[in-house]
């Protein structure tokens, strides 16, 4: 098979897909292991879900616009419609219903974590079609403390992966949705759009057309502007809380969640942004909605929320890595190890080099062989190595060590 592309093939990959070369792939693995390590220490058990699902089962969780972004095909033999997973949470919900219901029914909380890729067709300006996620789901615990656990865990995970000081955005989509249910008959979808855009003027004009009391009208207007530090919860007028016990209950729950975060991590509490008017996010969200932002990434590093039966979040690895790239304090390291190179490709010389590499590995070092290179070419090929063992034409080993990238220093010489 030729290493080059066939003639006439221009599009190398489908839209929104990309390769990671070794340095990026290695960092991806380090980041993934750091995140999974944090989740594991907090008792989240790993699960692996399949890349494909029956669309009739999976699609029930998705809004129409998300269903349209699923990659679907017909299963041979059955004629059933199958989809690539576009999101992990519906899979976990399916799994919970199929396999975990007895544990959940007994009152047990189930903690699961995963590292998985999801595929959503590129749509409009959403170019990225394949997303790499590492996430958690906490099932069977709907207390405010469970919401707080996820907020704290998300920040701990980001810090373990190298992102310090992310801003965590905490919202409760139940506030706006509760309001929708209690409004007089109106075009809820239009109002949803206005709130999603935080178009305060548009919301005010919409409210003016509804038969509403003074407080609800004022509250609708406030929804677009009540976001900021946790202190903004104090700006919710007392008369509105008094008038709507359901709203007072939701706000009290959010306050309880934030109080747990404040008690356990005051430094994180100072980085929280609360948004009472947030309505965006997956349709299956019912309460908490969590996002994390950090300089360097235009997209959120963490996306998650509470749904019927559980809550969870996913770390978006591409966004996280974009943020790491922008942080000058994070320096990518060399893979390290010993490269054993030989001048020629003769079997006897290769055997010598292979034996040397095995000896290095036996001593616990990373080691590999390159044959048929000049010293100069061997040094260039050893960019990822700390040490180069070079067998020249006389089969004597020269040991070179690399300080700064490309700066090679002769360490010693010994008999072969």
């Amino acid at each position: 098979m030729s290493a080059r592309l066939p003639e006439g093939v221009d599009a190398v990959l489908p839209r929104g897909a990309r390769d990671l070369l070794p340095a990026a792939a290695r960092r991806r693995r380090v980041v993934t292991e750091a995140l999974l390590g944090v989740f594991d220490r907090s008792g989240y058990d790993p699960v692996v879900t399949p890349a494909i699902e029956y669309f009739a089962v999976f699609g029930r969780w998705l809004a129409e616009r998300e269903r349209q972004r699923c990659v679907r095909f017909i299963e041979a033999g059955s004629g059933e419609l199958v989809t690539l997973r576009s999101d992990i949470t519906p899979q976990i919900a399916r799994l919970a219903g199929q396999q975990l219901h007895e544990r959940l029914a007994a009152g047990e909380a189930v903690r699961l974590c995963y590292a998985a890729d999801v595929v959503r067709l590129s749509e409009g300006t959403h170019e990225q079609s394949e997303r790499h996620q590492v996430g958690v789901e906490l099932l069977g615990d709907d207390a405010p403390e469970a919401d707080a656990e996820l907020i704290l865990l998300a920040d701990e995970a980001l810090r373990a992966a190298g992102v310090q000081g992310a801003a965590l955005e905490v919202a409760d989509v139940g506030i706006a949705r509760g309001l929708f249910e209690r409004l007089p008959s109106c075009d809820v979808e239009a109002l949803h759009g206005l709130l999603a855009r935080k178009d305060a003027g548009g919301v005010a004009r919409f409210a003016a057309g509804l038969a509403l009391g003074e407080e609800p009208r004022r509250w609708l207007g406030l929804l677009c502007e009540l976001f900021g530090a946790p202190g903004i919860l104090g700006h919710v007028p007392a008369d509105i809380r008094a008038r709507w016990p359901w709203l007072a209950e939701r706000l009290a729950r959010l306050e309880a969640t934030l109080a747990v975060v404040e008690a356990r991590a005051p430094e994180l509490h100072a980085r929280l942004i609360v948004d009472l008017g947030e309505v965006r996010g997956f349709d299956y969200y019912t309460g908490l909605r969590l996002r994390a932002w950090a300089p360097g990434s235009a997209r959120p590093l963490v996306v998650g929320g509470r749904y019927a039966g559980g809550a969870g979040f996913a770390v978006e690895l591409d966004a996280l890595e974009a943020s790491l790239d922008a942080d000058a304090a994070v320096v990518a390291g060399r893979a390290g190890g010993v490269m054993v190179a030989i001048h020629n490709r003769e079997p006897q010389a290769r055997a010598l080099a292979t034996a040397r590499a095995e000896a290095e590995r036996a001593a616990g070092r990373r080691a590999w062989v390159q044959a048929g290179l000049s010293l100069e070419a061997a040094q260039a090929a050893a960019a990822e190595a700390d040490v180069l063992v070079y067998f020249g034409a006389d089969e004597r080993a020269e040991i070179w060590s690399q300080g700064q990238p490309g700066a090679w220093r002769r360490a010693e010489e010994s008999g072969a």
Binding site: K198, D199, A200, R205, R280, W293, A298
Partner: protein, 242 residues
């Protein structure tokens, strides 16, 4: 790519809208006079030094109107000014906190005055437009699946040359339509320009952006400009996604 950590980056639309936006921006402390020479100035990026009403200064990107939402959505700019037409054409994850009332126009369906095409469900129809998505949504709501003919300019030529039966385009006064013997059939969208904000910027640079929104809102309230256009309605399905 993401916005600078300090100061604000604004993406502004070159051309007609900018002329109307500049006086408004000047009143809230974003004054390009003396820094940018006007439309003949070919620079695409200008820096405004910091001052009391604009601490940290601002970086201004001067871009094609249709590109403003892209700069903001990708986080290269924190805020921008974009028409409801451009915003309605693609679903984007942006906040649109303020209708600036400037750049008022309408997105309309038009056809030759002498050759009207009666619409019936399921009919074949060719429509020329710069707005394929808004156009498709409009006709689908009438049970028609049109053939969209995408054009980038002089859309009015479509029906004259027989390229399309109808067009969907922006009109301000309607003069261009009249001069080309076209008549308006229906308004799809009332368009004004809006302040748009990247979702992370609104939260991470809350103080300067909220100050900007408030100052613009106050400036609009005192001069009442564009109030006639504040009835702008947006079509369903134009909001951003998760």
């Amino acid at each position: 790519m993401a916005p600078r950590a300090d100061g604000l980056t604004l993406a502004l639309p070159k051309g007609r809208i900018l002329k109307q936006a500049l006086p408004l921006l000047r009143r809230v402390g974003i004054d390009l006079a003396g820094v940018w020479e006007g439309e003949h100035d070919r620079r695409l990026l200008v820096e405004l030094p910091g001052r009391p009403e604009l601490p940290g200064g601002a970086r201004v990107l001067l871009v094609k109107p249709v590109d403003v939402p892209t700069y903001v959505e990708h986080g290269v700019a924190d805020v921008g000014i974009a028409g409801a037409d451009t915003l309605g054409e693609e679903a984007r994850d942006l906040y649109e906190p303020l209708d600036l009332g400037i750049g008022a126009c309408r997105l309309v369906v038009a056809e030759p005055a002498a050759r009207p095409t009666p619409l019936r469900r399921g009919m074949a129809l060719r429509v020329a437009t710069k707005y394929p998505r808004l156009t498709l949504n409009h006709y689908r709501s009438k049970g028609i699946q049109p053939e969209i003919i995408p054009l980038f300019g002089s859309v009015e030529l479509g029906p004259i040359t027989g390229l399309a039966e109808q067009i969907v385009d922006l009109v301000e006064s309607g003069e261009t339509l009249r001069q080309n013997n076209l008549r308006e059939v229906e308004t799809i969208l009332y368009v004004t320009s809006r302040l748009i904000v990247h979702p992370a910027s609104l939260k991470l640079k809350q103080a300067p952006i909220t100050a900007l929104i408030t100052a613009l809102r106050d400036a609009l309230a005192t001069d009442g400009s564009g109030s006639s256009a504040r009835t702008a309605a947006r079509p369903i399905g134009s909001e951003g996604t998760a």
